[in-house]
């Protein structure tokens, strides 16, 4: 049986995603391992999350549909790119954002962002869903539809244990 990470990447490809970039997080290390190992994905390992969003924007302008992987710490780094590039230029992307600090149980540097991440996404008016294997297919389908209709970024929040293998 395919690993959760393989299944997730297959699902993304089925929904038309064909450009992959980002900055790693241990919570989706299974995905990054596949992306790094298989050249057909053309995965670009970015130096910062906002730079990954820039790469994604360029790929979209060139005709692709991008996915950007990032830790939620990188969501803070990405705020200006989201509001002054993607959202005003109508550039869609799926953000796969790990949820470090979920439930207040994590290293100190993750606790505040872990606590405010959902209000932060709401404040930035980014539609999102929390990764749950039972609803994953429906959520990816819904988020992708919203993303295409609005031509704005949407987010899938990935908690611990979901995509580590």
């Amino acid at each position: 049986m395919a690993s959760p990470s393989r299944h997730f990447l297959d699902l993304l490809e089925q929904h038309g995603y064909n450009f992959f970039t980002g900055v790693p997080c241990s919570l989706f290390e299974g995905v990054t391992r596949i992306l790094d190992a298989e050249p057909r994905y053309g995965y670009v390992s970015a130096v910062r999350e906002d730079s990954a969003l820039g790469l994604a924007a360029g790929a979209y302008l060139g005709g692709r549909q991008p996915v950007v992987f990032m830790q939620n710490s990188g969501l803070g780094v990405s705020m200006n790119a989201l509001v002054s590039l993607h959202q005003i230029y109508d550039i869609p992307a799926l953000l796969a954002v790990s949820w470090r600090g979920e439930g207040g149980k994590d290293a100190p540097e993750h606790l505040i962002m872990g606590d405010v991440m959902q209000p932060f996404l709401q404040l930035l008016q980014i539609p999102y869903a929390v990764f749950d294997p039972a609803t994953l297919g429906a959520n990816v389908e819904r988020l992708t539809r919203v993303m295409r209709e609005t031509r704005r970024p949407v987010a899938l929040v990935v908690g611990k244990g979901r995509l580590q293998s």
């Binding site: 450009f19 970039t21 053309g42 670009v44 970015a46 130096v47 910062r48 906002d50 730079s51 990954a52 969003l53 820039g54 790469l55 994604a56 924007a57 360029g58 790929a59 979209y60 302008l61 060139g62 005709g63 692709r64 991008p66 200006n80 790119a81 509001v83 002054s84 590039l85 005003i88 230029y89 109508d90 550039i91 031509r151």
Partner: protein
Amino acid sequence: MKRAFAVARVADAVDVTGADCLTVVCNGMIGRELYTHADAPSRFYMIGSMGLASSIGLGLALVQPSRTVVVFDGDGNVLMNMGALGSVAAAAPPNFYHVVFDNAAHGSTGDQRTISDRVPLDAVARAAGYRSVVRVRDEQALTDALRSFLHTPAPAMLVVDVERGNQPGIGRVEPSPSELTARFRARATLKTRSA
């Protein structure tokens, strides 16, 4: 050399090179000078997200390998996201041309000094692994460099030393951001002769 003059000369060289060229231009006065000189659907103007022009250009160059991608950048922009020079060098797209207009100042906010007078961006790009890097300091050198720059091995960088100060009469980019995206994406995904 005035920056608006240098921007216009580079734009003319891009236009001479051919219809396959796609230009991404950073936020600030450089984009406004390019727009005022000669607008075209093949030019993508940024009005925000400072520092990301090279990342956008890199993503574009990777997915459109048959097109020549030219990034118009400024020293403040490059310094804000200097790690992107490493991304460009590591990915090494052979169709990526990076032009940096360097006045060692933030020209759009009142010419406050940057640090590019002490951190030479051509040396940084060379160390990162750009395949060709050249710096020009006057109009004759720029003219000479532009004869071959867009045909040199890439990723390539051309640093153009320009004076501080803004030329009067430079307008703002008129199309809305979403209009800029729509027209540029249509141009970038158009099947070209070589594609």
